[in-house]
């Protein structure tokens, strides 16, 4: 079945081209292109290019994409391949209806792809959002199997995996911190997000590096035909975006920026908040897109963000202390059509993430910083061998440079310079996979191979694997080899069996290696969490995941039910030992790690409905995730802090009129695992809690209702150059105090133990006005 014979199917030619929005000139990702007899079909790639392998003949080719009217073109394919571009006109009715997912439901039935959801920008914009700010990650968190680690976090956990186990790619470049305001808002400006794809475990062979999920975000290329833009004023942020042609139909630009100003209101709260408190973020997205010719497209993207939060606490001898963190990401992408059957995409990227702390405090001002730097390249080929076989292969490479902790004195200070050794790693990867159609069966099978070499220049500490005592340290020069891991063979397999037009069964298996891991130093994921690269002391994380499921459509695809069950086993998982202290500046940080395994399993159900005025989905997840690390919790397995056993997600949007729509989301999940005290003992004058097993208990269940109403002005409808939209939203409509943390300790003033629940947001109403032109 998998032999080369399957590639020999007689003479096959191709129909290929780009799918575009004629209004903006932008190409459309994920558009479906198929012959009217539905014998041949494909989906446009990340630059809107498609290739359809067909036998010679005359075909009516249909092109459809969510939010656009279908286009049909007749084409005769005789002796040579044919180029056929589509320009789809907007379907206002459908756009207003805010279709939920950008890949059509019928396509999803047949794709040998499990646990993948593609979300269109219109959906994201219509979801209620915190303080009026639209948020990609919050939409992702409404999917079954995806959970928020804690209240207010835009990081996410997929199938019990850690926040660090998600590969987040923006235009092909990885993003290490996806949250503003310590993760309360996502980095991704809704104005520039063009398409979002989330893979929850069944990764195509081209993806690896992280074991839990891949979140692929494509940003807008910019309008090729005319200038357009938008301005938004909200309670939390203001933002603008502008795009347009530099050379019409050839070269376009897109730029967008946001700036928060919540700290402007702090002086009004001067009795409650220390003076000069900083709490701000900004981000900028910029992109150049050049359609060189029919065979070549080039884009250059840049993203920069900065978060600052700090206080002036003169009463405590601290003139100013500011936490800050920033992303700086650039990517260059070249899409080349080598021949009608073979395309090539090269992505060169450079990602830098910095977290820092600037202090101006009595006697000991200092600067602390931590940096992750990842430059890399991806070379991806897609060969449409024939109508039944599509082969993807490629060669990737990345370098990982981690500077975990650097402390520098500022001026006259008692603080000494303190630098934890950096780690350098080189990781090449190669992969090949084939998607093969055999009647109603679609298979995708492939293999990915990666290695990781830890190299100098650095001072490598060696820790005994049993006692964890440091027994040696050694200097290594630039690129001097320290340790290699060469067994990174990752087989991938998935199948889809379309038993009927509206029913398919699916199954998949994937193995993935991850070479850098993060451990949370706290009970809530944050900027100070520590990253560890594979080294002599830390082995790469290896994950195996099996999943099975089905898709069933009802009522002419208006309703879709999908179910998936999964089991995941991770080896070489690390966690910090009990009572590790504050890890961030610990020179012996690798000695604090303990290694073991983790496993998770669960069932995910999703019920999507999509009618002319009403649409949304209901999701339910039951899952368990356990760690088993012999040197933690007395060797007894313990629950992952990110696992919520039951989770419900309900999304509802109602298009009341063409100008008015309303939406509601309700989220419920079992309380986060935590550890409560079962007793106490006295030491000195204090009482110290005695705890039960780690994460044996649960915080109160989490639930929240968000409401949103969008009202469009009449401007655009009357043919004016601009249009406006009011957004009214209520976050946490019934004002539930969802726990961020519950802590216990000895309250000396009351001379007894006490526990407190910290919550972040009560009810938060907001209003924003968006102007587009």
């Amino acid at each position: 079945m998998f032999s080369l014979a399957s590639f020999a199917q007689g003479k096959q030619l191709t129909i290929s081209g780009y799918v575009k929005d004629p209004g903006s000139g932008e190409t459309l990702i994920g558009a479906t292109v198929y012959t009217e007899d539905k014998v041949y079909g494909t989906v446009s790639d990340e630059v809107g290019h498609y290739i359809l392998s067909v036998k010679p003949g005359t075909y009516k080719v249909v092109c459809s994409s969510i939010g656009f009217k279908d286009a049909v073109k007749e084409v005769e394919v005789v002796n040579a391949s044919v180029k056929l571009d589509f320009e789809l006109s907007e379907d206002k009715e459908v756009l207003d209806a805010a279709k939920v997912f950008s890949t059509s439901k019928r396509d999803m039935l047949k794709l040998p792809q499990m646990g993948m959801k593609s979300v269109g920008v219109e959906t994201i914009k219509k979801m209620p959002a915190l303080l009026g700010e639209t948020d990609v990650i919050r939409v992702i968190q409404m999917m079954p199997g995806v959970q928020s680690p804690s209240e207010g976090s835009t990081g996410f956990s997929v199938r019990g995996g850690g926040v660090d186990q998600n590969l987040i790619l923006m235009d092909g470049a990885p993003i290490y911190n996806s949250g503003h305001f310590l993760g309360f808002f996502s980095m991704f400006n809704g104005d520039v997000v063009k398409n979002v794809k989330l893979y929850k475990g069944d990764f195509p062979a081209k993806f690896g590096e992280k074991v839990a999920s891949v979140l692929e975000i494509s940003t807008s290329d910019g309008n090729m035909n005319r200038f357009e833009g938008g301005l938004s004023v909200g309670l939390l942020t203001s933002k603008f975006n502008l795009s347009g042609p530099i050379v019409k139909d050839k070269l376009s630009f897109s730029i967008a920026a946001r700036r928060s100003y919540v700290d402007i209101f702090f002086p009004l709260l001067k009795n409650n908040i220390p003076s000069n408190t900083k709490l701000a973020f900004w981000d900028i997205n910029a992109k150049l897109n050049w359609a060189v010719n029919d065979k070549n497209r080039i884009s250059l993207s840049a993203f920069s963000s900065m978060d600052k939060f700090g206080v002036n606490l003169e009463d405590m001898g601290v003139n100013l202390m500011v936490f800050n963190y920033r992303n700086n990401v650039q990517s260059f992408r070249w899409n080349h059509v080598i021949n009608p059957k073979l395309t090539y995409t090269m992505t060169v990227y450079n990602t830098q993430y910095k977290a820092g702390l600037d202090t101006d405090m009595e006697q000991s001002p200092f600067i602390w910083k931590s940096t992750i730097h990842e430059p890399g390249i991806r070379n991806a080929f897609t060969w449409h061998a024939n109508s039944n076989n599509t082969v993807e292969f490629g060669l990737n490479g990345a370098m990982y440079i981690l500077s975990p902790s650097e402390t520098y004195p500022v001026g006259q200070t008692v603080v000494l310079e303190n630098i934890c050794p950096s780690s350098y790693g080189i990781s090449p990867k190669i992969y090949i996979s084939n998607e093969q159609k055999i009647n109603k069966l679609t298979l995708r099978y492939g293999i990915r191979y990666s290695t990781y070499s830890s190299v100098g220049p650095t001072t490598q500490y060696f820790f005994d694997s049993k006692t964890h005592e440091k027994y040696a340290e050694k200097e290594y020069g630039t690129l001097k080899h320290i340790k290699s891991y060469v067994n990174g063979i990752d087989p991938r397999f998935s199948l889809s069996w379309a038993l009927r037009d509206d029913f398919s069964l699916k199954g998949s298996y994937a193995r993935t290696h991850q070479y850098i891991q993060q451990t949370s130093i706290s009970t809530s994921p944050g900027v100070l969490d520590a990253w560890f690269a594979a080294s002599v002391n830390v082995r790469p994380l290896v994950s195996d995941q099996v999943s099975v499921g089905f898709n069933k459509n009802f009522m002419d695809d208006a309703i879709q039910l999908s179910a998936e069950a999964f089991y995941k086993y991770n080896d070489h998982v690390v966690d910090l030992k009990d009572n590790p202290g504050l890890v961030i500046a610990d020179m012996n940080r690798e000695g604090l790690l303990r290694e073991g395994t983790s496993n998770s399993y669960g069932v995910e159900l999703m019920f999507e409905y999509e009618f002319s005025k009403i649409n949304g989905w209901l999701g339910y997840t039951w899952s368990k995730a356990m760690y088993d690390i012999p040197e933690i919790n007395g060797g007894r397995p313990y629950r992952s802090p990110l696992n919520h056993e039951h989770a419900f997600n309900f999304v509802f949007t109602y298009n009341i009129t063409k100008r008015l729509d309303a939406s509601a989301t309700w989220i419920y999940y079992s309380g986060s695992p935590t550890t409560y005290p079962v007793g106490r003992f006295q030491y000195g004058n204090s009482f110290i809690p005695i705890y039960s097993d780690r994460n044996e208990d649960s915080m109160p269940d989490y639930h929240r209702l968000d409401l949103s109403v969008n009202l469009k002005t009449k401007g655009r409808a009357e043919g004016k150059r601009w249009s406006g939209e009011w957004n009214f939203s209520i976050y946490n409509a019934y004002n539930r105090h969802n726990a961020w943390s519950i802590s216990s300790g000895f309250n000396r003033a009351e001379n007894q133990m006490s526990s407190s629940l910290i919550y972040l947001f009560a009810i938060v109403p907001s209003v924003a006005y968006n102007l587009t032109f």
Binding site: T407, G679, N685, S743
Partner: protein
């Protein structure tokens, strides 16, 4: 190092409270059916009466006072000299066991604590071992200053001396007029920022002296006055004891900070036996004092040199 991150913790807490709210929460969980023996003991190298305090753990909530463990047989053996002393329970303070007078640990000697306790299930034995080493820091003096840019009741204590690069952990316990703060107020200090350096006027401790705190901590917390004697009791700690003390100080706090508070877990212990918590450590100790001449003096008498010299 610890000091700086204590500040950082305080500031993060301020930030957290800026954007969040907290409310009292009642944990609904059954108390452990297991009762733990709590052991509190430091053997110093200063001749005197050494103590071992034994209590039982109690349910988490409520205002119960831990029950003293009386009638135990407590001995400390010197492994090098093959001798042991028996600690005798003080009739005035049940559960507190005193060594003979002028007893102390000696550098290089390993001390084995043994506790035999009769219970309904028979006699239970608990043991711990600790080796006394020499004191790692050469301290010439300490001084105080009133911090006029801090809140009204704070004094900082500076230290002059030279750190031993081979030693990394100290436990600092402030005292006023011979009254020391309780152990959970102590400051476990890691010396990464001045390891092996000569320090002059390095502010190593902060005293929060208020009338309100006197009610909580006793006479050690009274606002400083002329003639008071301010002392620092410094212990040279092993890494394991440092881990215990730093975890203890963190766990003693009523509010943890979600961003930086590690997963709740029981304190490490070097005691071997069923259901036992606490620690036994043989630690060299130095007590350095100064006399308060002007309590509101805002500078150290000797000009400080804030930059450590390696």
């Amino acid at each position: 190092m610890k000091k700086h991150y204590s500040y950082i913790s305080l500031i993060i807490l301020s930030l957290v409270l800026t954007v969040s709210c907290s409310e009292k929460y009642e944990i609904k969980k059954s108390a452990s059916e297991t009762t733990f023996l709590a052991v509190e003991s430091i053997l110093s190298d200063i001749p005197g009466i050494q103590t071992v305090k034994l209590t039982e753990s109690i349910p988490y909530s409520g205002k119960d006072v831990p029950k003293a463990v009386s009638g135990a047989v407590v001995t400390v053996a010197d492994a090098q000299e093959n001798t042991f002393v028996r600690y005798i329970e003080d009739p005035q303070q049940p559960g507190v066991y005193f060594s003979p007078e002028n007893y102390c640990g000696r550098t290089g000697h390993t001390y084995n604590l043994k506790i035999e306790r009769r219970t309904d299930e028979g006699t239970k034995t608990y043991e711990a071992s600790s080796t006394m080493r020499d004191f790692g820091m050469d301290i010439s003096k300490i001084d105080y200053k009133y911090s006029d840019n801090l809140v009204d009741s704070l004094w900082t204590i500076g230290v002059w001396g030279t750190d031993n690069p081979q030693r990394d952990y100290y436990l600092i316990l402030p005292a006023v007029n011979g009254y020391s703060y309780p152990m959970d107020y102590s400051l476990p200090l890691e010396d990464h920022f001045f390891s092996g350096a000569k320090v002059a006027g390095y502010s190593i401790a902060v005293l929060n002296q208020t009338v309100e705190n006197v009610k909580i901590y006793g006479p050690c917390a009274k606002p400083l006055a002329t003639g008071d004697i301010v002392s620092l009791v410094l212990f040279d700690m092993t890494e394991d004891f440092y881990q215990f003390m730093s975890s203890l100080v963190q766990n003693a706090s009523a509010i943890s900070i979600p961003i930086i508070s590690s997963q709740p877990s029981n304190l490490p212990t070097n005691l071997v036996g069923d259901n036992v918590v606490g620690y036994f450590s043989a630690c060299p100790c130095r007590v350095v004092s100064c006399v308060v001449d002007d309590p509101y003096r805002t500078k150290y008498i000797e000009e400080e040199s804030p930059v450590p010299v390696q």
